[in-house]
């Protein structure tokens, strides 16, 4: 194993330990908004599913698929807060004194955060199933969903990591948490596109959340299919590549202290 991979692996282990030891913030909190939506609104708005032409067998099916896309978005604040604390507390300075690439260290954290989201996603799917959601996906479909969620986590987290690097402030990262709400309500995460007013539909068309949520929904409903999986992969990888590259560059600059 190369030194780079070993660094990433050690950082991965450390980040998962951190998450395990702050379960409320790292594991439980991210799943609460999604569970609340599934548990409360899917019941309240259950008649939506009876509308003629509703694009899912029932509203809880629609909700479940949307909610899993939201989990990484409500879990991202923790990733950013942990990185901001590392920068502010001097931990990354210490890493810079070691013969390791700080970006390998960052990579370990990013991958750990992607894995951290999976139990939360499973919890949402199980609760939704208990409320009547029905998934057409078999094991390969669920694995594909897990992979898509992980990629989406890496993409969306990058925004919070960037805020962490730029501000070095866990509070600033936390303050950015609510942007998940407009981003998801301006996409078909919670409501089908045809129920959205015209202008919101146009925003939804260009909202990257749409490009992730819709394929995840398709795979959950109908099992694995290349076209939706590829869409999510391309969009997530694209967003991740751009944002993570900016984050990495800012991090190296911040560490060098110019």
């Amino acid at each position: 194993m190369s030194a780079w991979t070993r660094t990433a692996q050690l950082s991965f282990g450390r980040s998962l330990r951190q998450a395990r030891r702050t379960p409320a913030l790292a594991l439980v909190f991210p799943v609460i908004p999604a569970l609340a939506m599934v548990g409360i609104y899917a019941e309240l708005l259950t008649s939506l599913g009876d509308l003629p032409g509703f694009p899912a067998p029932s509203y809880v099916d629609w909700m479940a698929a949307g909610a899993v896309t939201v989990v990484p978005m409500t879990g991202a604040a923790f990733s950013g807060m942990a990185l901001a604390a590392d920068i502010r507390g001097g931990y990354l300075e210490r890493i810079r004194l070691l013969p390791v690439d700080p970006l390998a260290f960052l990579t370990g954290r990013v991958l750990a955060d992607a894995v951290r989201m999976l139990p939360a996603v499973a919890a949402v799917l199980v609760v939704a199933a208990a409320l009547g959601a029905d998934y057409g996906a078999g094991l390969p479909g669920f694995l594909a969903v897990a992979a898509m969620i992980s990629l989406w986590t890496i993409a969306y987290n990058a925004l919070f990591l960037l805020i962490a690097v730029k501000t070095r402030s866990p509070e600033a990262v936390q303050a950015a948490f609510p942007i998940f709400a407009p981003l998801t309500f301006l996409s078909p995460v919670w409501f089908p596109r045809r129920l959205m007013p015209g202008w919101t539909e146009r925003i939804a068309d260009v909202n990257p959340v749409t490009a992730v949520a819709t394929p995840i929904r398709d795979v959950l409903a109908d099992g694995i299919a290349w076209q939706p999986v590829l869409t999510t992969v391309v969009v997530s990888v694209g967003v991740a590549a751009v944002l993570q590259a900016i984050t990495a560059r800012s991090l190296l600059r911040a560490l060098r202290g110019t």
Binding site: L10, R14, R17, G89, Y91, I95, L97, L98
Partner: protein, 325 residues
């Protein structure tokens, strides 16, 4: 004499948005022979940490050169870092790891195998009295324990040159003493120690930095004899005798109430003066002789104000004198 640290004409300028550049260092020269304990003394914000960050390769100087362990900190940063250990101003620990996990992780990042890293971590935990706390989360450690763990971390790679930024801050006297014991042990094993701290009497050599330049450099004794003074304070109740004493001292005396106060360059001169006054029958009812401590020298050189500017020179009133008057 081999030099462990050698810095010449280091400057560091931070550009600011307003265009007023901050000159953190204005030409620092430092030479530290191998095996020495070298102390860097200065008020906060005068360039101590910046100098250390340059010497440890964490930041680049604007101009100037520096070699540590014989290697160039700018062009051979990676090689330099193999030979150095450092504790920085913030105790850089991860609250959510145990002490042992922390040391094993950093040791592994140094390239040790898992079992080797664990063995070295246990060794250091033992050495720093942290074995009992090894399996507890760092979150629950006291300030002193954190300092010790931080120091242990900096020794994982058995460094030849050790940099310690304010290592005794926040320690109780016992912990401070034991830390100094450790530092001297390291020195006797051949490690060079470069540190900034407020308790410097124990360093072999000291540099006093202010406003980004070094004002004075030398052994504590040399600094005290070069820049310090010996102050004599005599309480003389009889007004006539007090007046005669004052005249005997010419314009070098100052009177406050019953106290006559004067300053001599060193202890020998002070002894001669007291002998002479005694010969003239001008004995004091009460006498104090005070030779400058390193802290006095530091205050004289850098000013006494908390945000103060340098320039307050010897002769300034100290609280004890006000109390005596």
């Amino acid at each position: 004499m081999t030099l462990a640290i050698e810095a010449h004409a280091l400057t560091k300028t931070f550009p600011t948005a307003t265009g007023d550049d901050v000159h953190a260092l204005r030409g620092i020269d430092v030479e530290v022979p191998e095996g020495q304990i070298f102390g860097f003394l200065g008020r906060n914000g005068q360039g101590k940490s910046t100098t250390m960050r340059i010497l440890t390769g964490l930041t680049l100087p604007t101009t100037g050169t520096a070699r540590v362990a014989g290697l160039d900190v700018i062009t051979q940063r990676r090689q330099v870092q193999r030979h150095i250990g450092a504790t920085l101003q913030e105790v850089a620990l991860d609250d959510l790891q145990t002490g042992r996990e922390h040391l094993v992780l950093i040791g592994s990042l140094w390239g040790r195998s898992g079992s080797e890293a664990t063995r070295r971590a246990d060794e250091l935990l033992e050495e720093f009295g942290l074995t009992d706390a090894a399996s507890r989360l760092i979150r629950g450690y006291s300030g002193g324990m954190r300092r010790r763990l931080d120091l242990a971390t900096s020794l994982l790679n058995e460094p030849r040159v050790l940099f310690l930024d304010e290592p005794t801050t926040g320690l109780d006297p016992q912990s401070r003493r034991s830390l100094w014991g450790r530092i001297r042990q390291l020195q006797s094993a051949g490690t060079t120690v470069y540190l900034t701290t407020q308790y410097l009497e124990e360093a072999d050599e000291i540099a006093i930095i202010d406003g980004g330049t070094i004002l004075a450099c030398g052994s504590p004794d040399r600094l005290r004899t070069t820049y310090g003074t010996t102050r004599i304070e005599m309480r003389i109740t009889d007004p006539a005798r007090r007046e005669r004493t004052r005249r005997e001292l010419d314009d070098r005396a100052e009177i406050r109430g019953e106290w006559v106060r004067t300053e001599m360059a060193d202890a020998a001169e002070a002894a001669r003066l007291l002998g002479r006054l005694g010969g003239l029958g001008l004995e004091a009812d009460e006498l104090t002789v005070h030779t400058s401590s390193l802290e006095d020298v530091f205050l004289d050189l850098t000013g006494t104000g908390i945000n103060g500017h340098a320039g307050q020179t010897a002769g300034v009133e100290s609280p004890t004198e006000v109390a005596a008057a």
